[in-house]
């Protein structure tokens, strides 16, 4: 019994310590973004890595999600004779919720893992130590540009996801569910509010930060050769995904429940 308590206690203490360490790490990285000199070249590279190469994945995810959403809500709402709400449901779910969350999860798997692997390799081959001996702060040089890229790139990706997701719903709605084009568009845009889109973009900025933070944090602190880099990569993806879902709940509570 005491053993069990001790094990639980150790786990809780460990989790608290890791959360604290990651938060401090993130804070230091954010300060690194603000501290001059700016590093446009490094930011540009991190941004391209983050946004451009994630575009196809995010686009496909958004289109199919919009399509399936239209189909599901149509068959569901048919039971209440409320098929007319399909367009609203699609646009609200995509902009408020599914756009940022699904884009975040997809990008966490792609970019978060890549960041952890890159920084992890640099760590175990002494490249991060080498930076420090060459008068370069690794937080400023490696971490800050990636955090900035995450904060800016994910909202842009989500704009694309929003547009494509709504388009996917529109295609299914008009081609196979029998809505007329003007009706569907009308239903989409009259019920959509700026706040829906903006709240989704704020979520995206937070998620982008979390993805980059987890990728950098786990990569930066990886140890023990190739195996260590592997587990850092896994940890980055898992922790970013869970944090995205938890923060999504928290942010939704803040935005929409008064």
């Amino acid at each position: 019994m005491l053993d069990l308590l001790a094990a639980v206690g150790r786990g809780v203490i460990g989790a608290c310590r890791a959360t604290g360490a990651a938060s401090l790490f993130g804070l230091e990285g954010l300060l690194g973004i603000l501290r001059p000199p700016l590093q446009p070249r490094l930011f540009g590279r991190a941004f391209v890595e983050f946004a451009y190469f994630s575009l196809p994945v995010v686009a496909l995810t958004a289109i199919f999600t919009g399509m399936v959403l239209a189909l599901q809500s149509f068959t569901g709402f048919a039971r209440f004779n409320a098929e007319g709400a399909v367009a609203n449901v699609v646009v609200l779910s995509i902009t408020r919720e599914l756009g940022p969350v699904l884009a975040g999860l997809m990008v966490a798997g792609r970019v978060g893992a890549a960041m952890a692997a890159e920084l992890g390799t640099m760590r175990v081959t002494d490249q991060i130590d080498a930076l420090a001996t060459l008068s370069t702060d690794p937080m400023k040089y490696l971490v800050a540009p990636r955090l900035a890229a995450g904060i800016i790139a994910l909202p842009l990706l989500v704009v694309v996801a929003d547009i494509l997701g709504v388009m996917g719903g529109f295609l299914v709605g008009t081609v196979s569910l029998g809505f007329s084009v003007p009706t569907y568009l009308h239903n989409t845009f009259t019920f959509m509010q700026t706040g829906d889109v903006v709240s989704g973009l704020i979520k995206a900025a937070v998620f982008g930060f979390v993805i980059a933070l987890m990728g950098c944090y786990h990569g930066y602190h990886s140890r023990g050769g190739a195996e260590g880099v592997g587990s850092a990569t896994t940890a980055a993806v898992v922790s970013a995904s869970i944090l995205i879902l938890a923060l999504d709940y928290l942010l939704t509570q803040i935005f929409f429940v008064r």
Binding site: M122, T125, D129, A130, T133, L134, S135
Partner: protein, 256 residues
């Protein structure tokens, strides 16, 4: 005698239960080079990383030109360390950057070199370690081990540091390339008038590079003397190590 450039006193470092450095005392006079020898895992790399500030020692002092750098604030420490060039054991070249940018990295970061002059600067440093300018645009992964070592050497000396650390500059190279690298190390130290600490497992190389030598064993310096005396040091531990005998005071864990 004048103040030594580097002086370590009672340096200790443990990783968990494992005591790696257990009271290291060491002095290096300005303008001389010291070779540190010792078995694998005896803590030679950890020793250098402590002085570089990459590992925080548990106890002891590290003085550079008489100033205890562990007592300085973060900014002053960074400044003190900017004076140290380091050749890492595995090269640690930045594999996302081409060779020329690796070499010019330090001066670019310190803003003592303009970006448009960096290519020419790197070409000059690379030439001094015998690497053709055309290699400058390659990435480190495209180079052989010997070339990587030379590029790493070029990167370490590019900032003309007053102190140079070499962690096994010749390990894994064929004897001829090894001898060339040794010569380059000696030349660099002479030309820059730097103070150097070199780690090596290769006794021939130790005698070529070092003015003095020290042996690290069980976390302490067990012998310290002129590098020329490595083979007749009169110390049983050093004797066994330099002659590579399996019988003697050094016992491997596996034979206990």
């Amino acid at each position: 005698m004048s103040e030594p450039r580097i002086r370590l006193r009672g340096l200790r470092k443990s990783f968990g239960e494992k005591r790696v450095l257990d009271g290291v005392d060491l002095e290096v006079a300005a303008g001389t080079s010291l070779v540190v020898i010792g078995g694998s895992g005896s803590g030679k790399s950890v020793l250098l990383k402590c002085v570089l500030g990459l590992i925080e020692p548990d106890a002891g002092t590290i003085e550079i030109d008489g100033v205890d750098i562990l007592a300085l604030d973060a900014r002053a420490r960074r400044a003190a360390r900017a004076a140290i060039g380091m050749l890492f054991q595995n090269g640690a070249l930045f594999d996302s950057l081409p060779v020329w940018e690796n070499v010019a990295f330090g001066p670019l970061a310190r803003r003592t070199l303009a970006r448009r002059d960096a290519r020419a600067f790197a070409a000059r440093i690379l030439a001094s370690v015998g690497i053709a300018d055309s290699v400058g645009t390659l990435y480190p992964s495209a180079l052989s081990g010997g070339m990587q070592k030379r590029v790493a050497l070029a990167r370490a000396i590019a900032g003309e540091p007053a102190i140079l650390f070499f962690d096994e500059p010749t390990t894994g190279l064929d004897p001829i390339v090894g001898a060339i690298i040794d010569q380059l190390v000696v030349d660099c130290v002479k030309r820059l008038g730097s103070t150097a600490i070199a780690i090596t497992h290769d006794m021939a190389s130790a005698r070529r590079i070092g003015d003095r030598a020290a042996m690290l064993h069980h976390g302490r310096i067990v012998w310290d003397g002129p590098a020329a005396r490595l083979f007749d040091s009169g110390n049983a531990i050093v004797d066994q190590f330099t002659h590579g005998r399996s019988e003697g005071p050094i016992t491997m864990e596996l034979r206990r």
